[in-house]
Symmetry: none
Subunit: 231 residues, 2 copies
DNA sequence: AACTTGTGTGACATATCCGTGACAGCCTCA
DNA sequence: TGAGGCTGTCACGGATATGTCACACAAGTT
């Protein structure tokens, strides 16, 4: 994988340093900015692949900045992760509505940060926005978050949807329950591994009326695999 | 998954014991150290995959130690989790700034500890390189954990799969039953050596319909060999 | 040939893994 | 406040894999 460029927009120097340290250790190239203006300056030279944006900045808020970038033709496809001290749910929702791809709450561990950065970059890498996945008659539209089996629609809960989306993005490959928890549930939640089984069951059940449950295969002792080929 | 080694650096014996107990129950191999010097000693023998490092140690602080290790070529890639009684935000940032991968605050539950240890180890693992082995028509794909003989698929149990994978990664070479137990079963499980024979048999049986069982050759008095050449 | 040693093979008790239904907690929405 | 949807956990039971044994068989040895 080619080295990725990350722009940090953060006014507090110690946190900036900590983030830079973590990112450079993980082999990212890092550019720093302490406010909106220096951020613009940094972007003029070279567009980053991802921006780590502090929620609170002197002058303009990070949220405003994000909204602005999303409107700009040039920057609208750059991934954004909001960094904030707030734990308020409303802010979180607002942040994501603005167009941030993910959201990290202080205090966070460096490995958590890296994991989220990697996850976002991985997600935004292929083509981008309105992802539309098709698999032998089973189709998933990311924009409308709809799944349809042939003609008729499939009704899925949020978790089942994300699970299926993950599977369809990564077919023909075995994933452990641990890996699935990482990539479908999120890196910072601790849930039992068997929970994966239950959701697999629920997804299979939803897909079964159309016969698509055969795509979800159990690999005993290892995990699960999404594949069109039979066992 | 192979067993991981964890080094605990902690001066208080009861806490050390508690951590050791939790880790061993979760199938990690544990080495203890009570100060910087004994930590160095423990590392000299064998590098751990992860270090649980107490923030406060007699003499040198854990933070100093972490910084030192991060500078050392040999140890800089070993994951570090700081263990501390402090809840102060600044300390946390400072700890992560130093290069710790995560941070656990006393008191902590053993399940939380295990979760964090697992999370950190998982993240520091090298990305999944897609191993794909081929051998005269017999092919094994590590990503999908599939084995196929020519056109049709071969159905294997977990142990047979690992065994075949081991063979195909190390062809043309004789291995004793003991070596095979080490590398396929794991280094510290005790099973009878004859068990290898039984699994060899099962693997041969699965490969036989396609004629590929001839690759698994018995070397009387020594062990087995995987080879395309006959005898 | 008899004996010794090493390996193939089928059977079997057990351990392990996974599918499944049930359930309580938590949301949201009316 | 209650209904209804979603989530994570658990316990049970069935399916499958595992390790060990006993015995058959083969290859050397005396």
């Amino acid at each position: 994988m080619q080295q990725k460029h990350v722009l940090i927009v953060e006014d507090e120097a110690p946190i900036r340093d900590m983030i830079r340290f973590a990112l450079e250790r993980a082999d990212f190239s890092v550019v720093e900015a302490e406010d909106a203006q220096s951020a613009r300056l940094a972007m003029a030279d070279h567009l980053p692949d991802l921006i780590l944006l502090d929620w609170m900045l002197p002058g303009i808020s990070g949220a405003e900045l994000a909204r602005e970038w999303r409107r700009d033709e040039l920057t609208q496809n750059v991934a954004i992760i909001m960094v904030t001290a707030r734990v308020d749910e409303d802010d979180r929702v607002r942040g994501l509505n603005i167009g941030a791809d993910d959201y990290v709450t202080k205090p966070f561990s460096s490995s958590e940060l890296i994991a989220r950065v990697r996850a976002v970059l991985r997600r935004s890498l292929p083509g981008g926005e309105d992802e539309c996945l098709e698999f032998e008659g089973l189709s998933l539209d990311a924009a409308s978050q709809r799944v349809s089996a042939g003609a008729d629609a499939v009704r899925l809960g949020p978790t089942e949807y994300r699970l299926l989306r993950f599977f369809m993005s990564n077919p023909e490959r075995v994933y452990s329950r641990e890996q699935m928890l990482d990539r479908v549930w999120g890196q910072n939640v601790y849930v039992e591994e068997r929970t994966v089984d239950v959701h697999i069951r629920r997804l299979r059940k939803a897909l079964a009326p159309h016969g698509f449950d055969r795509f979800i295969q159990t690999v005993r002792g290892s995990g699960y695999r999404f594949s069109s080929k039979s066992l």
